[in-house]
Structure formats: structure tokens, C-alpha cells
């Protein structure tokens, strides 16, 4: 039995892979980055923390593949180690923010009334503040650490997700199949979980992949202000922001490679997200 299930699962995967080649490309990009992050110590050719005055601002070459920074640290190795922080922050904050936002949106759309009114006003207040400012206030009060950075970036994501899910739930709960489910004796919560929630998945995936990129940039800004993940641990955002102003002309590799890494992850996650959204919708099959 389990053999047939896994067989059909792999069939499904290979079928969808042929259908969404761009999604496969996005998936490969993401897998490469995640593997690099997990096995950073093994993959990185040099110690990312090791400074070398002679190699200060060395251009890309056979030893320093992507050059070296002002303190002579290898950019390539730092990028690989930085993937840990950046991906942890991006995935962690997006998953936490979207998860909570989804729950809040579902509750608002379903419970309605004064609860909805109250929560909507709170989210409006939160949305009135820019993402960065709110993340700043939260990290400043929690103190800099990886966990606090994730929390600080996740919380400002909640309102957007909550509002999108809420509006979606409001229209979905009027669908005839929801009424039909009520007529079969299902409880409201069961209907919300098994009928309404899965149908909000499509906008949620699009939103989450879009947010993935902005979380990496927010982390960069926080690091730049000294409130992100503490030194000397590298993060892409900080690598980019600490060298952008000073060295963009003299040592452009300090800016180009971290920027490229961020762009690639954002690009890859968007490709993967779009393909996932289509692949998970049974109406797009056949």
C-alpha cells in the first residue's frame, strides 16, 4: 500500500516537474542554497572569520574566488556561512508571520463581529508603521540575536497576511460548498479548517514568496543599524550594507556577490512559489 502511495507521489512529482520547468529551476536554486547553508563548514573553502591584512580588498582570484573584504576575509566563504543567517531569517520570519497571519485572518473572517473589528483596527495601526521601523522597535526592545531578529521581522508581516486571508475567507464562506458542508452537519471550525483554509492557499503562497525577499532586505537593514544578527557572524544583508557606500567603486565584488545571492534566493523562491501554487490546485491538472 505504502509502495503504491510513494509510487504515485513520485509520478506526481515528475509530472509536475515536466509541467513547470521554471518551478524546477526555482527549486534547484533553493535546494542549492539550503544545502550550502546546512553544510557551510564543509563547503566553504576558507574560514569566514579569518582575517588577513595582506589580502585586504583582494580582487577575485584563485584563492579568494569572490575576492576578500576590507579585513581580508573570504567573500565566498562568508556568503556560504551567511546563507545560514539569511535563509533562517527569511524562512523563519516568513513561516511564522504567514502562519500567525493566516490564523488571525481565518479567525477574523469566521468570527466576525466585534472581534474582527478590533483586530482589523490593530492591524491597521501596525500597517501604518513601515516594516523596518516596527522591526527596529521590536529588536531594540528584545536585543540583537538570531531568534529576536526572526521574531522582529515576522511580527510586521502578520497584518498583510491577515488582511488578505480575511478577505479571502469572507468570500469563501459564502461559497455553496460551505453551506453544503453545514448541511452535512459539519461544525463551523471543521469547515474552516478543511474547506476554507485549503482554498486560501493560492494567495498565501504568492504572498509568502513575495515576502521572503523583503525579509532578507529587512534583516540587512537591521544589521546595518547594528540590530540584526550580531558580529562577526556574516549575513548577506550586512555584507551588502556595510560595504555598499565605501567600496562600491574600489571593490565592487563586495557588493555584487551578496546582492546576487539575495536576488537569486528571491528569484528562486518566486519561481518555486508560482509553480507550487499551480501544482497544488487540482483544477490546473489533467
Amino acid at each position: 500500500m505504502s509502495a503504491t502511495i510513494s509510487h504515485s507521489f513520485w509520478n506526481n512529482v515528475s509530472y509536475n516537474a515536466r509541467r513547470y520547468p521554471l518551478g524546477v529551476a526555482g527549486g534547484i536554486i533553493m535546494i542549492v542554497f539550503v544545502l550550502a547553508a546546512i553544510f557551510a563548514s564543509a563547503v566553504a573553502p576558507l574560514d569566514p572569520f579569518n582575517t588577513n591584512a595582506k589580502a585586504s580588498l583582494a580582487a577575485p582570484g584563485p584563492v579568494y574566488l569572490m575576492g576578500a573584504d576590507m579585513m581580508g576575509r573570504d567573500v565566498f566563504s562568508r556568503l556560504i556561512h551567511g546563507a545560514r543567517v539569511s535563509l533562517a531569517v527569511a524562512l523563519g520570519a516568513t513561516i511564522i508571520g504567514s502562519g500567525i497571519g493566516c490564523a488571525v485572518g481565518l479567525a477574523c473572517g469566521y468570527i466576525g463581529g466585534w472581534f474582527d473589528l478590533l483586530v482589523q483596527r490593530v492591524t491597521e495601526v501596525m500597517q501604518a508603521l513601515p516594516l523596518l521601523v516596527m522591526a527596529l522597535v521590536i529588536t531594540a526592545s528584545l536585543g540583537p540575536s538570531l531568534r529576536n531578529t526572526i521574531v522582529a521581522i515576522a511580527i510586521p508581516l502578520i497584518p498583510t497576511v491577515a488582511r488578505v486571508i480575511r478577505s479571502n475567507v469572507l468570500s469563501l464562506r459564502e461559497m455553496p460548498y460551505v453551506e453544503a458542508a453545514k448541511a452535512t452537519g459539519m461544525s463551523e471550525w471543521r469547515i474552516a479548517i478543511i474547506h476554507v483554509l485549503p482554498n486560501t492557499l493560492a494567495p498565501l503562497i504568492v504572498l509568502a514568496t513575495a515576502q521572503l525577499g523583503s525579509t532578507i532586505l529587512t534583516e540587512a537593514s537591521l544589521s546595518f543599524l547594528g540590530l540584526g544578527v550580531p558580529e562577526p557572524y556574516p549575513s548577506w544583508g550586512r555584507m551588502l550594507s556595510e560595504s555598499a557606500a565605501e567600496y562600491v567603486r574600489t571593490a565592487p565584488w563586495l557588493v555584487i556577490y551578496p546582492g546576487l545571492a539575495i536576488s537569486l534566493v528571491v528569484f528562486g523562491s518566486n519561481l518555486l512559489g508560482d509553480a507550487l501554487r499551480d501544482a497544488l490546485d487540482p483544477r490546473q491538472r489533467d
Partner: protein, 327 residues
């Protein structure tokens, strides 16, 4: 034999900004096991609200069932708590809806949707519930039920989805099936198949069916008794043959006169009797009903009494009831 479904004095209102809308007023009827009762009337006459009231699916607020009782096998549904009512829905009283295209969750296989309900009511295991779903799909004559059970709603035609809805509604063998315009969205050949199917399953399971429709052709085909509603009230009730042969109330008479027949009005030389007749005027707004008979403004027989007093619903002929001063 005691009727399976006994509705008496059911009244449902909606509290709206424009005032109290009396959608259903003092409606009573009963249905025996294996019998089909049709409720007919034009749009907005309270048919669907009656159906939803039976299931207690009226959105509250703004809706409210203000009085009456709905007894299924002697249990008054209107007196149950919401959790108790939930147990009744699907297991004792089930409903099928008008829109087969959207009444199934697009992201779940049809078999799973039926199985969900079986698990909910019978506490069956997943495997047993799945098997029951396939068996029900077989009952509603869907070919290759095992394969179809694994398909999503969009892979099925409208007629097949309606069959799947019927399979779901009957999966727990309810005593009462409320069918709200089950064939309106389907084309005519499929309509006939679906009606036959409901009839056959009804005989097999002994289900009492309340069929809501505006299609008198459907009524003639499947129902044993007919309730005619107008503006939220019952205006006539009789056995099907009786009602079609001698309708007492001018409204059903008008309805019957407005059915086109093949061959009628083919040329210019039609006799006046063969012309398609219409009921003049419009249905009154339910929040602004006339003081007397609601049909009086459209009725050619109406006199002063009709405009002043609501006619009582009473026995006019053996087993033939109507609410009309003139009948």
C-alpha cells in the same frame, strides 16, 4: 403510519434595515416515508427559506425562525441545541442544493468529501468511509465509482456532480431529504435522469423527500403531494393529480395556464383558450404585504373582502386545501 417529517406553523422572518421581512408565514405540511412532497412557487415566494428553515441553516442574524415546529421522527429540530442539530444534519435530514457546479469543494476529491461525512456521523474508520463513498457513487449510477471517487469535482460534468451531491446527502441514510431545485441548473435530459435517480433511491431507502421547485413539469413527474406557496404563505395543498386537474386557488390556476405545450400557439388561428396566459403584475415585496390576500392585486376574481382580509387556509374539497375567499 406517522409522517416522518411534520412541519407546523413555521414562520421565518428577516430583520432588515427596511423592516421586518416575513419570508415564511405559518407554513405546515407533513411527509410520509417514501413520499415526495413538492413545494412550488415563483422566485422569492419563500420556498428556499422554508428549505433552509427545515435544516436550521437560516443565517442568524438577520434571519430568525419565530415560531412553529419541525419534527423529524417526532424530534422537534427547532428545540435542539446547535451541537444536537449538527448531529441531525446529514444523518437524519439532508439537503441537496441547486448549484452542483459549486456545491463541492474544488480542492478535495469527491470520494473524500463523501467519506468525511460518513466518518463524522457514523464514526466509521477512514477505510470503511472510503468504501461507503464508493458504494454510494455506485448507487447513484456513476460508472467506475472507485476511480471517480479519487477525482476532483472539476473533472466531473454538472450532472455527475449532482449525482455525487445526492450520494453525499444519502450516504448516512437520512429520513428526510430536502432537495432545493436539484435540477434547475442541469439540462433537460440530465434533469430527467436525476429525478429518476432520486425517485429510485427514495424507494430503496424509504426517504421522505421535500422537493423545492418552480418547475411544474418536475412536480407532475415525481411528487405525490404539492404545496403551492405565494409570498411566504401556503395558498394551496393537494395531491398532484387533483391539483393539476382542478386547481382551486387562482394563483396555481394561473401558473398552470402559463405552461407552454408543444403544438399550442403554433399558428395565428389559435383559439383564445389555447393562448399562453400570464399572471399580470409582480410579486409583492415581503416587507410590504397588502393587508388582505397577498395575491389579490394580481387576481381577476378579487373583491373587496380579498383586499381587506387574509383568507384562511382551509379544507375546500376532500384532501384539497386552499386559502382563497373565492374558491
Amino acid at each position: 403510519m406517522a409522517p416522518v417529517l411534520e412541519v407546523s406553523g413555521l414562520s421565518t422572518v428577516f430583520h432588515t434595515r427596511r423592516g421586518l421581512v416575513r419570508a415564511v408565514q405559518d407554513v405546515s405540511f407533513s411527509v410520509n416515508a417514501g413520499e415526495t412532497l413538492a413545494i412550488v412557487g415563483e422566485s422569492g415566494c419563500g420556498k428556499t427559506i422554508t428549505a433552509l428553515s427545515l435544516m436550521r441553516l437560516i443565517p442568524q442574524p438577520p434571519g430568525e425562525i419565530v415560531s412553529g415546529s419541525v419534527k423529524v421522527d417526532g424530534t422537534d429540530l427547532l428545540k435542539l441545541s446547535e451541537p444536537e442539530m449538527r448531529k441531525m444534519r446529514g444523518s437524519k435530514i439532508a439537503m441537496i442544493f441547486q448549484e452542483p457546479m459549486t456545491a463541492l469543494n474544488p480542492l478535495m476529491t469527491v470520494g473524500k468529501q463523501i467519506a468525511e461525512m460518513v466518518m463524522l456521523h457514523d464514526g466509521a474508520s477512514k477505510q470503511v468511509a472510503r468504501d461507503r463513498a464508493v458504494e454510494m457513487l455506485h448507487h447513484v449510477r456513476i460508472p467506475e465509482p472507485a476511480r471517480r471517487a479519487r477525482e476532483y469535482p472539476h473533472q466531473m460534468s454538472g450532472g455527475m456532480r449532482q449525482r455525487a451531491m445526492i450520494a453525499m446527502a444519502l450516504a448516512c441514510k437520512p429520513k428526510v431529504l430536502v432537495a432545493d431545485e436539484p435540477t434547475t441548473a442541469l439540462d433537460v435530459t440530465i434533469q430527467a435522469q436525476i429525478l429518476d435517480l432520486i425517485g429510485d433511491l427514495q424507494k430503496e431507502f424509504g426517504t421522505a423527500v421535500v422537493l423545492i421547485t418552480h418547475d411544474l413539469g418536475v412536480v407532475a413527474e415525481v411528487a405525490q403531494r404539492v404545496v403551492v406557496m405565494y409570498a411566504g404563505r401556503k395558498v394551496e395543498e393537494a395531491a398532484v393529480g387533483d391539483l393539476f386537474a382542478h386547481p382551486l386557488h387562482p394563483y396555481p390556476r394561473g401558473l398552470l395556464g402559463s405552461i407552454p405545450r408543444v403544438g399550442s400557439a403554433r399558428g395565428l388561428d389559435v383559439s383564445p383558450d389555447e393562448r399562453l396566459r400570464e399572471i399580470t403584475g409582480m410579486v409583492p415585496a415581503l416587507n410590504d404585504l397588502p393587508p388582505g390576500c397577498a395575491f389579490a392585486p394580481r387576481c381577476s376574481l378579487a373583491d373587496a373582502k380579498c383586499h381587506a382580509q387574509v383568507p384562511p387556509f382551509e379544507l375546500k374539497q376532500p384532501d384539497h386545501f386552499a386559502a382563497c375567499w373565492q374558491a
